[in-house]
């Protein structure tokens, strides 16, 4: 038994005793199929166990640390942002000297330095920069994002990795558990997605939608009542009329001069209507849609997510079923809710999406032709989720046909369609038909 392999790897004998107790000792509360095994700990440190952390912000930093101290050594971290001063109140792997550097790179360096033996591969970029195959290598994906759109995209990726057997049943080994964490101020959630067994993020998309809403334009233009209305008026209506920082220069919410211009204009408007004048903080909050964030909530949610990753990979305890809500404004409350799947879900609803293989330079017309010739469609209409938004690509209805005809000649790349995009297709010739989902497979990868 190679349990006490002290000489070969210093520090692993006693160092990981905490985690190993869970893996090497049987316990009555363990998962139904859990068998303790002294080799299990070496196994989770082998190349077979790769974990992807999506997002290197407040949650991502915590998750990375928690995973490293759970004994995992093959971590990947993907994030497209660079470090800003306002991150430092919670993103504890960053220091003032790191401002401007890519979050993924700095976080990876820090954790590798602090937790020796742990390897973190940073990916500075967007989710869609990676081919689908990139995601297939992971045994588990844990996500700490603040954007609904990016979450939906990741969900789509994870769901599209699922393979099906001849009888259209998902093959369990192709299902990568997705653990999703999110916070807003003192509230947060952790959820476990096992595609086709539990609801995917799309099944319950309405859970996320309410937080990111704007104000009606007519309120901004005609009946402002709040300082926020004046700010949005200055940003949406006045800015593109006056271009205060040069023609076509868009608002940069991180540029204090931009924010201050908006604040000044908003104050003028506020005075005109007798509304309280907004200060800089409020202005920037509205302009950037800032979600308040503290270290404590991020710590809680990330820790919960990583505990679930540990369970998902080792099987040492049953997984959370399947959503936990957290709030510590009044007392501390944790509620576990088993969310239910949506059988009509665009992403994971049955039947499984069929692959459509094309080249990114192919036109939409080519796709429609194939749908007609090979999938028995007569008048296919197509919608897709592009950059987190539902977009109608083509609709074979007389009054819309002209408007959307231009799309037919555009290439898939021009339409913003990437590999793994799910296309929802209905046939206008067959009324009442449920949409059929296809997943786009672009042979020339992501070079769009």
């Amino acid at each position: 038994m190679a349990l006490h392999d002290v000489q070969s790897s210093p520090g692993t004998d006693n160092r990981w005793r905490h985690v190993r107790r869970l893996l090497e000792r049987a316990g009555p509360l363990g998962g139904p199929e859990f068998e303790p095994d002294p080799e299990l700990f070496s196994a989770i440190r082998s190349d077979l166990v790769q974990i992807l952390v999506v997002g290197a912000g407040g949650l991502g930093c915590e998750m990375l640390k928690d995973l490293a101290l759970s004994g995992f050594v093959n971590l990947h971290l993907i994030d497209m942002d660079t470090i800003d001063l306002s991150n430092l109140n919670r993103q504890f792997l960053f220091r003032p000297k790191d401002i401007g550097r890519p979050k993924a790179v700095v976080a990876a360096e820090f954790v590798e330095r602090r937790v020796s033996g742990c390897r973190v591969t940073p990916h500075f970029g967007k989710l869609e920069d990676k081919p689908l195959e990139f995601y297939r290598q992971f045994m588990c994906i844990v996500c700490g994002l603040d954007s609904v759109q990016a979450r939906r995209r990741l969900n789509q990726i994870v769901c599209s990795l699922v393979q099906f057997d001849e009888s259209d049943q998902p093959i369990p080994t192709s299902v990568i558990p997705l653990i999703d964490g999110g916070t807003q101020g003192f509230q947060g959630h952790c959820r476990v997605v096992r595609a086709h067994a539990t609801p995917c993020l799309e099944c319950t998309a309405d859970l996320y939608s309410s937080t990111q809403q704007g104000f009606p334009l007519c309120t901004l233009a005609h009946t402002p009542r709040l300082p926020e209305h004046c700010i949005e008026f200055a940003r949406i209506m006045q800015w593109p009329q006056e271009w205060p920082f040069g023609e076509e220069v868009p608002v940069d919410g991180d540029d204090p001069h931009h924010v201050d211009w908006i604040r000044t204009e908003a104050c003028k408007r506020a005075r005109q209507f007798g509304i309280r004048e907004p200060d800089f903080r409020l202005t920037q909050g509205v302009v950037k849609h800032i979600i308040p964030a503290v270290a404590s909530t991020n710590a809680v949610i990330s820790a919960q997510c990583v505990t679930e990753v540990f369970k998902a990979i080792t099987g040492c305890y049953p997984l959370l079923n399947n959503f936990a809500n957290f709030s510590d404004i009044e007392g501390v409350a944790v509620n576990v809710v088993p969310l239910e799947r949506n059988p009509q879900c665009d992403v994971c609803g049955q039947p499984p999406p069929k692959p459509l293989t094309f080249n990114s330079r192919d036109s939409l017309q080519t796709v429609i032709n194939q749908l007609k010739s090979e999938h028995g469609m007569t008048r296919p209409s197509l919608t897709a989720c592009v950059e987190g938004r539902d977009v109608t690509l083509y609709m074979d209805l007389s009054f819309l046909r002209d408007q959307l005809a231009d799309n037919l000649d555009k290439s898939l790349a021009e339409l913003g369609l990437l590999s793994n995009t799910v296309l929802n297709v209905t046939d206008s010739a067959q009324s009442g038909m449920k949409p059929v989902t296809f997943v786009l497979n672009l042979e020339d990868g992501m070079e769009t």
Binding site: L85, L88, L226, G274, D279, L320
Partner: protein, 580 residues
Amino acid sequence: MSSTNNNNNNNKSNINSHPVGRSRSQLPTPKAKKYDRQLRLWGDHGQQAIEQARVLLIGANAVGTETLKNMVLPGVGSFTIMDHRRVTEEDCGSNFFVELARIGEPRAKVCAELLRELNEDVIGDFLEDRLDVLLQRDPGFFTGFSLVIASGVRHSDLLVLSDLLYDRDVPLIVCQQHGMLATCQLVAREHFVWEAHPDNPLPDLRLENPLPEFVAFCDAQDLSAMDSQRHSHTPWLVILYKFLSKWRQANAGKFPSNYAERQAVRQLIRSGERGESDLHGDEENWRQAQSAVTTALLPSKLPSNVNELFKLADQFWLRRQQLSDSSAPSEDRQAAVPPSNWLLLCRTLAEFYRQRGCLPLCGTLPDMVSDSDRYVALLNIYRRAADADLVEFSRLLRVVCLDIGLSADSVPASQIALFCKNARHLRLVKTASYRELSRPLPQTVARCLEETAEAGPSPFWWYLLFHACDRFHTEFGRFPGDTDDVNFLADAGQLKLKCQQLAQDWLASLATTSAAGPTSAPEDLLHELCRFGRAEVHSVAAWMGGVLSQEGIKLITGQFVPETRTMLYDAVSQTFLPVF
């Protein structure tokens, strides 16, 4: 940046009671930028309180350093770590604030250094003393902190520590971790919550006894004479008031007191809506008025949390009165203690309520569909009334202060304003001492034993077992299962024995012990605890560290409401439940 723009047109903004002419540039300082995301939650004054706080951590284990991390990041004034242990290999597999290269060095020192790196604004210090020794040698040391966190400290030391702190009003947070489980307990004799930040506060509108200015405003609105634009932009508050008045006239002037009566008002409003025949059927403001019936027409009654405060203030003044009447040499230390600011304010609040029959207005309005002028006019009516309440409250406060020989300006104006604005949500949070909390009443124990006789893992059993583990440790110098022996379950028998003894002790004074359920813990739980062997599973520690830091921030800032119950986090089921 131009700082002179548009100060000429300021007379209009005098409608607002807010500073005018501040349109000159006000770019944030680097510090405001760094803390931006949290300042939006607790404000500059909350931040100031955090920056003045001195936190002591006893026990630099995983839960302890994770807790401190989440307080150093938001900028706690200073921290001190007290720990007599040396960094071990095990620490490097559970604690992020140690390093392999520093094994053998004092743990307090290493953790303090690595935590200090997180925030250059924070002062960090450490002590290598043993807790029991320092408690004997220098008890005064402990009472100089604004908050003490004790992680993994043994029960016998906690008793001494918490008696000391409780007596001196220093809040204490206690936590213990075993593997996938952790308990925590706040110990605070008195903690005043200035700003509860309720999630969905009810609007503060005084519709039961409406403000005269508000009545005049509404009376001047003639709904039937309005064109459709004006009609569909009348604030729901005006609509609600008008139909409420109608209903009151028809009901001998009474205010709706139950669901059916509120629904009757709703029906009246519905009848007044201009229907589709008018081609303006889609009147959002009228729908808002109908749904507001459930929140804006609740009969005003004194919130129980505020009533509690009135009683406390009464008791304090009564005791004071008795002492001064008896003119005996004061032996009661309470008499010498002048009332704290919150007590002075509560006394004043009670007086305000006695005279007015209501609490000071908070002076805010929810947003609602409306044209600008009428919304702003309404808001200003409520603001002015709130300002007037504040003036009156301040006058009463001066009387209260002078009455007991304090200076009239004993309480800073900013504190008075904060108090009045949050009057409905104020509360005092209290817990018993750790000595009492950690020795539950026999009745409680009997009830818990009975309730959980059938069930598997229950928070109560875990809690009892945690204390049994402490006893095990006292006797054997290690925790059950904390051994390299493959036969880790060998400790289960002794743990079971300790558990039984403990349950008997807790039940001791109860005559009918037989009424209680079994006093021997479920085998599954004994087994599981031995499996853990006191493991500090990092993600579980990090979870608890997140929760405890926020509880600490609540105590430091007087904002949000602390959790006062003894709680158990079970990472297996992802639940956080009260033990009793």
